[in-house]
Amino acid sequence: MFELPSGAEIQSIIASLKLSVEFFIPEIYLSLLFMLLIVVDLVAKGKKNNLLSITTLLGLAGTMYFIFRQQSMPAGELFFGMYVLDEFAIFFKYFFVLSGILAVIITMADEQFESEVKSMGEYYALVVAMVIGMIMMASSADMMMIFLSMELVSFSAFILTGYFKRNPRSSEAALKYLVYGGVSSGLMVYGFSLIYGLTAETNLINISSALSQHGYDPVVLILATLLVLAGFGYKIGAVPFHFWAPDVYEGAPTPVTAYLSVASKAAGFALLMRFFYIAVPHGGPVYEDIIGINWVSLLIIISVASMIYGNVVALWQKNVKRLLAYSSIAHAGYLLLGIIVMDAFGTQATLLYLLSYFLMNFGAFYVVILIANKTGSENLEDYRGLGKKMPLAGAALTVFLISLVGLPPTFGFIGKLMIFSALLTKGSLYLWLALIGIMTSVISLYYYMLIPLNMYLRESPSSEQKNMNPGLLPNIIMAALMFLTIYFGLFFQPLADFAKYGSTLFGLKH
């Protein structure tokens, strides 16, 4: 039976909560922004203007200030170990807020919203809700908190995916996403319960020490790890938890696709890194697992399968969004390579790769939206001759795709370079993984180049003269993203230093 806490205990709980709130300001601020957006929507109901999107943009930009203030705060646990504040979390806070900002920017450019939906109120509020959820995912230090934050992200994402209510593909995508999400969350929670059974702890750091001090049944732990991986694997879209990805990416509104493929994936990676680095032991004689299978070997299998499957299946895609969906499965595989290395350099490489993926994938989807605005299509065939009609869009998309392949002088190359460097610091142990990564990226060249091939090498069947200029502001944003992709490919030091900063996890014993 529960014993009621005494008055003094309650006092200390309240004091501790008060203390924690100081370190929780960005999240509180974002929650207020979420509510403000609903109010703004009520006030400005029915008016087609940019009030909502501008409010969201300014609001999200304001968050940066509060995150910046957190940089000088000491790393530590909040709310009785539910939550942590560390450099790793701050890195991802910036990452998710920036993703939110970019998601809003590219939503503003998408003309499909004007014809498909009446009101954008919930949309922007949900984008902000997802930012909150993802920030919490990256900061969770407790299995309860992990589950809650993941569900917050998932539910926002389900609604965003199905935001085009009258479009059957959008609704179908949302339903598929929901069903897969439900199943994988269930599996993950089952895994959590097994771990709780082993350790009687929910806090990650406590789990780690309980496992190493009291020992454990390796079969149960590996089973629990596998189940938890089902939940994380679903978020990062890695094989064999990827089945939702192509349909959802194709059916969802394109800005949502971009947002999911970058931010939601990154949140999954943040969780995965924190959970496996901190909670589940690895290596060393204390942690002998059954027949040499530990979670690193599980990740290796998932990573190799994702790289091969994503890149090979993408070869046959005829729809650009679907093609990018398979490419994003493949990129989950590359990102996992950095985690497999299991050291600070590997983490740094993964974070840098995430930054490069952020830039090039948002860029690619942005151009896809601008092209769809003009042509009304996302099919590869309809890209024929676009290079001449939309010169800047064509050039920008080519740069983003080259970056996705990983060719210099683009940021994507630096990401791959760091990942492969991290693998090779382990000598010849992981060389074969690097070889698979390298060979699959050659395969990826073929399908990525299908897009420039259609844009530049083939002539458009119709010769009608139509104004294809996407407008001044989109052109500037596109050019800026393209410039940054190349600039960071040549001068990546600041971002690599930022990734180094972000690779410090609270409670990690290296």
Binding site: T398, L424, T425, M439, V442, L453, L457, D497, K500
Partner: protein, 542 residues
């Protein structure tokens, strides 16, 4: 100076970006000016080059300055990587005897390529932007002394080349362009892994950090004993050597990785064929001389005869394929494969004569093959066909053209008095005097015979005899009672016009001059090649 010569074309490309696409003439002139400025810089570098400095490895005190020339060395990126130390990349340019000849060749061929591009009418602006990007990347490859920088330039060449073949190429251009891209990328991605492995194996003696510097890598004393590519890891060193070799061999192209070349050449527009044959193929053998061999000398020593055998296969197989071609451009493409085989053979000899011959052959092949492709382009512009049997008796109607073709063809088959002869002779001298390659050289000599066969045969079929019934041109009896040639829709001059002569005459002059007096080039390269041979010779033999 080197930065300027590398980035001039990119600057020109940026200027062109600002020019409206209707101003075709301005775009061409800007490109030409950049190419000419590059040429002037190349001449300045040539005049100021001190042939006594060896290059290849660092000079006294571990500094590149006493060994390389025109050195520019600036820290570019210095990352902290936690426990792994740091990632240091330098912007490091410099030339020695091996690269300085290639710099001059690149400047020359780039300028000729711009002139040859004058007739491009489709999307002129895009064409010249890509062309200038390609020109910069090629030049960068030859002067980069930091492996990372080299790799960036190396990969930077691929995309412009893809589009230049893919947009401005012939009917089957999509296939040729992606084939080129995939083949070369396949070769170079493995190079990336070797590059990373080398980084973690080599220590810069001056700073004590890991380094990408090719100069430091060329000295075996700088390797960590137990690192992944350190001297103790014999197996990985062999694998790394093989991987790098394949990467470069694809570019050469060496049998059996050559199949992209005929496709790329046949589909590419003339100026791009000129660049491809004149400069890009040299990057393969240059990479071997700069990176592949000096970094793994003991592996090179063990695999000399394998390289020699592949060289011989290239020579003979290329010649046989050329013999079978109906398409003149395809014939020239296969002759390119054959002639790059001489370079491989000379490198495989591993001695000074062979290496000097190989490097000189690289230079000569650049000028001669550029000439061959330009000449093929001339007749294709007029007749819109390259089928050898659609011509006949051209010598009577296009005497200047016929004369230049004869010079180029004879230079290609190695007639004494023309530059190709000297380099091929040196290659064979080197190959015969090395025990390893002696018998290979004996077989390879046959290649010269077959080379003469396809060149002379094509010359005879196209230029001698009479017009064939299904020829690609008509004959009309003019007012003066003589027969005149007439191409169906060709409005220009029948024989070579001024622009074509401007492109071809300098190459002819160089070919003849260097055939009679090769010292300007040989003098520049000798000390570097000797140093390279010294680096490649195992200590036991030295």
């Amino acid at each position: 100076m080197l930065s300027l010569i590398v980035f001039l074309p990119i600057i020109a490309g940026l200027i062109i970006l600002a020019v409206p696409s209707s101003q075709k003439q301005i775009i061409r002139i800007v490109s030409l000016l950049a190419a000419l400025a590059q040429g002037v810089l190349a001449v300045l570098i040539w005049r100021a080059y001190d042939p006594s400095l060896p290059g290849i490895t660092a000079g006294p005190g571990g500094s590149p300055l006493g060994s390389f020339q025109f050195v520019e060395k600036v820290p570019w990126i210095g990352l902290k990587l936690g426990a792994m130390g740091s990632l240091n990349i330098e912007y490091f340019l410099g030339v020695d005897g091996i690269s300085v000849t290639m710099v001059i060749l690149t400047a020359l061929i780039s300028a000729i390529g711009v002139l040859s591009s004058w007739t491009i009418q489709k999307q002129v602006k895009g064409y010249f932007i890509l062309y200038n990007l390609l020109a910069s990347a090629m030049m960068g490859c030859f002067v980069a002394l930091d492996f990372f920088l080299f790799y960036v330039f190396w990969e930077l060449m691929l995309l412009p080349m893809y589009f230049l073949i893919g947009i401005w190429g012939g009917p089957n251009r999509e296939y040729a362009a992606i084939k080129f891209f995939l083949y070369t990328l396949f070769g170079s991605v493995f190079m990336l892994l070797v590059m990373i492995g080398l980084y973690f194996s080599v220590i810069d003696p001056v700073t004590g950090n890991h380094t990408f510097s090719l100069v430091a890598m060329a000295n075996q004393a700088n390797y960590l004993q137990d690192a992944i590519l350190g001297p103790h890891n014999v197996m990985w060193r062999y694998i790394a050597f093989a991987v790098l070799f394949v990467g470069f061999a694809i570019k050469v192209p060496m049998f059996p990785f050559h199949t992209w070349l005929p496709d790329a050449h046949v589909e590419a527009p003339t100026p791009i064929s000129v660049i491809l044959a004149g400069v890009l193929l040299k990057l393969g053998t240059y990479g071997m001389m700069r990176i592949n061999f000096p970094l793994f000398p003991e592996v090179f020593h063990a695999s000399m005869y394998v390289i020699g055998i592949f060289g011989a296969i290239n020579i003979i197989y290329g010649a046989f394929c050329a013999l079978a071609q109906q398409d003149l451009k395809k014939m020239v493409a296969y002759s390119s494969i054959s002639h790059m085989g001489y370079v491989l053979l000379g490198l495989a000899a591993g001695n000074s004569e062979g290496m000097i011959g190989a490097l000189y052959q690289m230079f000569n092949h650049g000028t001669i093959t550029a000439m061959l492709f330009l000449l093929v382009g001339v007749i294709y512009d007029r007749a819109h066909t390259r089928q050898i049997d659609k011509f006949g008796g051209l010598a009577s109607y296009m005497p200047v053209y016929a004369a230049l073709v004869t010079v180029a063809w004879f230079a290609s088959l190695g007639l004494p008095g023309l530059s190709g002869f000297i380099s091929e002779a040196l290659v064979f001298v080197g190959a015969f005097s090395s025990i390893t390659t002696r018998y290979i050289a004996m077989v390879s000599v046959l290649g010269i015979v077959f080379g003469a066969a396809y060149l002379l045969w094509s010359l005879q079929r196209m230029f001698l005899g009479k017009r064939k019934p299904d020829a690609a041109y008509d004959l009309e009896v003019g007012a003066d009672g003589h027969e005149h040639i007439h191409f169906h829709d060709w409005k220009g001059k029948i024989d070579l016009d001024g622009r074509e002569l401007t492109m071809l005459v300098p190459l002819v002059v160089i070919t003849i001059f260097l055939g009679i007096y090769p010292m300007p080039v040989l003098g520049m390269i000798t000390s570097s090649v000797n140093k390279l041979v010294e680096v490649l010779t195992p200590l036991a033999i030295r």
